[in-house]
């Protein structure tokens, strides 16, 4: 007897573990009969999960915090024991804003570390000229995109409200919104940065990896009550996704992966637009340069699927700084209640994998890859941070 599951996802390259587990038979291998349902909005994903239409969902990590605390929706505790990977976002700007930025620094696409301060200079001149405030889009109020973009702005003293406005545009609509001039830039996951570049609608100026090395992104969200009642199914779900993530990381499967993702029922974007996330490249057709970002999107390497409670804690702290959650909220406690790190460790070590023995690590201090008890982990440096170990 197979167990039937309904899982919701959004058309983004990091939904790949779900697509691969289904197409390559990993779900089947663990007696799971999974129906994947593509959704058009994060709100739909949240509500369908919360009200039991879905058993599990591809979710923005901060949405688990917002639903658990009842921010902007019905209060329902959600948990996760699987991360879909690290990184994958980037910031792109319109061709017009790009032109203004190149007036300040002609080689801006090759200097990601300088682009926030270049943007600040552009904002200053725009203010003098009496131009309109720049508008940047993120994909959801409770998203890494929102926190990463704000963090990056803060490194150059760009003030949200005074200098720029932030609004929400869903992932599949950002390219159109940029093209129609409704926004001047955005922070979104792939393939929607590369797609804008290919359509010559915008230019990618910095990747999420360069803002925070190996940042958390999407996780497998489930209801807390579901996780408690379905331990065995949850365990098999994690195992099948782990094998899928491992499969994705194997270069020989690369072409097949692009083929699956480009299918209309999954991401539905051309292979050309999907390729860069996995190839680790940011390209700019205007001056035909490509920058190598090997960790642009990390589906498996460096324990990318490990649900670090320190990731959740960072997220809650950003939410607190922004006033989305109350000042008295204990970030560590919230992180521990939502991230089932012990459960992940139990399940994945039973497959013979060596895993970190702790649930928290120091974030924002490692400039290079490093070892924790013999396990290689990626760097975790934050842009503009001075307390890095060498």
């Amino acid at each position: 007897m197979k167990d039937d599951l309904k899982i919701g996802f959004i058309a983004l390259t990091d939904s790949a573990p779900l697509v691969v587990a289904r197409e390559e038979g990993f779900f089947e291998q663990f007696d799971l009969n999974v129906e994947l349902v593509r959704e058009v909005s994060w709100s739909n994903i949240r509500d369908k999960l919360v009200f039991g239409e879905f058993d599990a969902a591809h979710m923005l990590a901060p949405m688990l915090v917002s639903s658990t605390l009842g921010l902007g929706s019905v209060k329902k505790p959600l948990v996760t024991a699987y991360s879909f990977g690290l990184n994958g976002n980037a910031v792109s700007v319109s061709n017009d804003l790009y032109a203004e930025m190149t007036e300040v620094e002609p080689k801006i696409v090759l200097k990601p570390n300088e682009c926030a301060s270049v943007l600040k200079s552009v904002i200053k001149s725009r203010k003098k000229a009496g131009s309109e405030k720049l508008r940047f889009a993120v994909v959801f109020p409770y998203s890494m995109h929102n926190y990463l973009l704000r963090y990056w702005f803060s490194t150059a003293g760009i003030s949200v409200g005074n200098d720029v406005e932030i609004l929400v545009v869903p992932p599949s609509s950002v390219v159109q919104a940029l093209d129609e001039g409704l926004i001047d830039g955005y922070c979104v996951g792939e393939p929607w940065n590369t797609h804008a570049v290919k359509k010559q609608v915008g230019v990618t100026i910095i990747t999420g990896y360069e803002i925070w090395n190996n940042a958390p992104e999407k996780v497998l969200g489930v209801r807390k009550s579901w996780a408690e009642e379905n331990l065995g199914i949850h365990e098999r779900l994690i195992k099948s996704l782990y094998l899928a993530s491992q499969w994705i990381d194997d270069e020989k499967n690369y072409q097949k992966l692009l083929g699956y993702l480009s299918l209309p029922k999954y991401v539905g974007a051309p292979e050309d637009s999907i390729r860069n996330a996995f190839k680790g490249e940011v390209c700019n057709p205007a001056c035909s340069t490509c920058r190598k970002i090997p960790n642009f999107s990390l589906p498996f390497k460096y324990q990318a699927n490990f649900p670090w409670q320190s990731h959740a804690q960072w997220i809650v702290e950003q939410m607190r700084d922004l006033g989305q959650v109350s000042d008295i909220c204990d970030s560590r406690e919230v992180a521990e209640s939502i991230y089932l790190t012990d459960f992940y460790r139990e399940v994945v070590s039973s497959m013979g994998c060596d895993l970190p023995v702790v649930n928290f690590k120091q974030e924002g201090v490692h400039k290079n890859a490093w070892f924790m008890d013999g396990i290689e982990l990626g760097s975790d440096a934050l842009i503009g941070c001075s307390n890095l170990e060498q």
């Binding site: 369908k48 009200f51 239409e53 902007g72 209060k75 959801f140 409200g161 869903p170 599949s172 926004i183």
Partner: protein, 190 residues
């Protein structure tokens, strides 16, 4: 005071049906718009008390951000999340409709608008399903006629003999007539 409702829907027929039903119940629909990234501007233009949105459009996420991100937005809209009446939200989500409200509107009226919307969305879905079935019945009968004609031309049999042969095959193989007709057509049209 009456609640001013704005409808965001890709299906103009459904939107017209719902608009009429709300008007019949004494609510004022001040605008019917198609989804798109410029939804914020539309909300600022029409200043509704409530937005009813089709969940097949990605615009829900835009509405969810209004009370959080846009400090200068004239209208903070929040998701209709009546904690005491979760059943309505659940049914709304299942029926493909969602509601957003401006703080301070009368919840009793909001619940009633949501119920009217849920009913209209379901009715519309039922009509669509019925149309689809009728269309597929029509397609089936066209296919069977074509298969009959091909058999008559290629086997030199009468219309009745062609039909009987297909019916026998349908019963023997426990398959639908339309499936048998489809295989006949594929054989002769190769």
């Amino acid at each position: 005071m009456s609640i001013k409702v704005m409808l965001v829907d890709n299906e103009t027929v459904r939107s017209a049906m719902l608009s009429q039903a709300l008007a019949d119940s004494g609510y004022e629909v001040i605008a019917r718009v198609k989804p798109g990234p410029n939804l914020l501007a539309k909300v600022a233009q029409f200043m509704p008390d409530m937005v009813v949105v089709d969940t097949d459009s990605p615009d829900r996420d835009i509405l969810e951000s209004m009370h959080l991100l846009n400090e200068h937005n004239p209208l903070p809209v929040v998701m209709f999340a009546d904690e005491e009446n979760e059943v309505i939200i659940q049914e709304a989500i299942r029926s493909g409709v969602s509601g957003y409200i401006v703080k301070g509107v009368d919840m009793g009226r909001v619940n009633s608008i949501m119920n009217v919307s849920i009913a209209r969305f379901r009715e519309y879905q039922a009509i669509k399903n019925e149309l689809r079935e009728t269309k597929s019945e029509l397609d089936d009968s066209k296919l069977i006629d074509k298969a009959k004609r091909l058999l008559m031309e290629n086997k030199g049999v009468s219309e009745e003999e062609a039909y009987d042969a297909m019916r026998k095959s349908s019963m023997d193989n426990n398959k639908k007539m339309s499936e048998i007709a489809q295989s006949v057509v594929s054989v002769y049209e190769l």
